[in-house]
Amino acid sequence: MRAPLRFVLAAMLMLAAGPVLVVPVLVLPVLAQPVTDAARGNISASEMELQATLRGDIIRGRITIPDSRAANLIQPEGREWREFHNVTLGWIGGIAVLGMLALLVIFYLARGKIRMEGGPSGRTIQRFNWFERANHWMTASTFIILALSGLNITFGRYLLLPLFGPEIFAEATQLGKIAHNYLSFPFALGIVVMFLLWIRDNIPNALDVAWLRAGGGIIGHGHPPADRFNAGQKMIFWITVLGGGLVAASGYLLIFPFFFTGMQGMQLALIVHGILAVLMIAAMLGHIYIGTIGMEGAFDAMGTGQVDYNWARAHHSLWVEKEVVRARSTIDGTAKPAGAD
């Protein structure tokens, strides 16, 4: 009885070395039953491990200490997670961040700074009040620190460790981790506030289709009509709200390890967190580009809160119209600070 089993085992060993995709298909049916050493009722460690590896199962038992995680004897998915963290995330992160940077450089070189048509008018209009701006900057600054400290966790050991040596790097990473943990709170708060403040103006509608079809005016020259936020900005909004929300949610799973979930959950949370984070970073790079060197006049919206009338007309024609109407009524009616809605 044992001899054929050993044969199966040997076969499996060879198969395991073969193409990863083929193995489960070939072997699973054979292994449907736990293979036992019939003479003594023994389980073969090696076989069980192999099956577990192939199926991604945990070999789990009973343990007397209360820590239920300790009851996992062998958890082969740790290997998959390692693969994700060291390889997949590296690639996705690398491509997303570096790719976006490269795109922006190319775009800048090709298109240069998008100028205000007709130059600044000199007249301004209030676009974001102090509260909106403060919240934006709180979110933005914490995001940047989160991003840098996060990226450091993923890439620092390759990029910074050789430069600074282990002590300094570990110290910095430790600080980064603390910052990452604590700044997650203002960041998450910012996301929530942004959501509440701006959701009204970010519901997608028919205008957005047109705007998108027209390429947002970035590619061409004409400016499709847009309300307070155009489709591009809405995308940033939704990326921020949804992506940020998920990053935060997954992040909190990570901050309170095993409080909400088990080992697989933790691994999944890290996968979600990592991928969304790097994608968000890429998206935000684009946003930051437009908000600064990419477009003349854009920064003011978040700087002083006052945008040039011409800029506003170009990008948010419908919004400007409404604002003008409202401004009049405000003057007529009881005093109400502009843009307070």
């Binding site: 003479a39 958890q75 740790g78």
Partner: protein
């Protein structure tokens, strides 16, 4: 140089927890940190086996691969150790470890974890051998004293073998040949990509 490994002969292990307690005693490991533990699979059913598990000191150690601060190092005896001064307690090694070996004290904010702790193969840490500083952070350095891990030395049934991988594998192989059965070396496939074939 020897390639140190652990091998738990599950046909001998009786879940007596001597290994676990010896580790606590020798390294003064605090409550809640279990460098070694015993897991019983198929509890209460024929084929029940208990396996004592700690860090296996893997070949191409996954913990080392994912550590953001690269604080792991492998000794000349192939023992996988880490430097607590560089550890930031992120838990990545725990997520990657196939054996759940890394352990964390509950300290600080949130569910925050302190420096990772794990089985050192009773080989201390990066400081000077058998120094106070080494002991405080890592426990005993029996390897430097020319001894083997206490968990294995005290194992009631001599189920837990520690020492040069080739030697313990041959001890195990001999046992299996003699008795005609054996459930194999738990964790070896995963840790060393190797099996003790008989």
């Amino acid at each position: 140089m020897a390639r140190m490994k652990f091998l738990c002969d599950a046909d001998r292990c009786i879940e007596c927890n001597a290994c676990v307690t010896a580790c606590k005693n020798e390294n003064e490991v605090p409550w809640g940190i279990n460098r070694r533990r015993v897991v019983t699979i198929n509890d209460g059913r024929p084929g029940e086996r208990s396996i004592s598990m700690a860090c296996m000191h893997c070949t191409d150690a996954p913990c080392a691969a994912v550590c953001p601060t690269s604080c792991f190092y492998t000794t000349a005896d192939a023992i996988v150790l880490h430097d607590k001064d560089l550890c930031i307690g992120c838990g990545y090694c725990f997520y990657a470890c196939p054996f759940g070996a890394p352990q964390y004290p509950r300290v600080g904010n949130f569910g925050g974890r302190g420096k990772m702790d794990k089985c050192t193969y009773c080989a201390g840490g990066p400081q000077a051998d058998n120094s106070q500083a080494e002991y405080i952070q890592y426990g005993a350095n029996r390897i430097a004293e020319g001894k083997l891990p206490l968990c294995a030395e005290m194992c009631s049934t001599k189920a837990l073998l520690a020492g040069d991988g080739d030697i313990i594998a041959s001890i195990y192989r001999e046992r299996v040949q003699k008795r005609g059965y054996g459930s194999g070396a738990w964790g070896w496939r995963t840790a060393y990509r190797q099996d003790v074939s008989v």
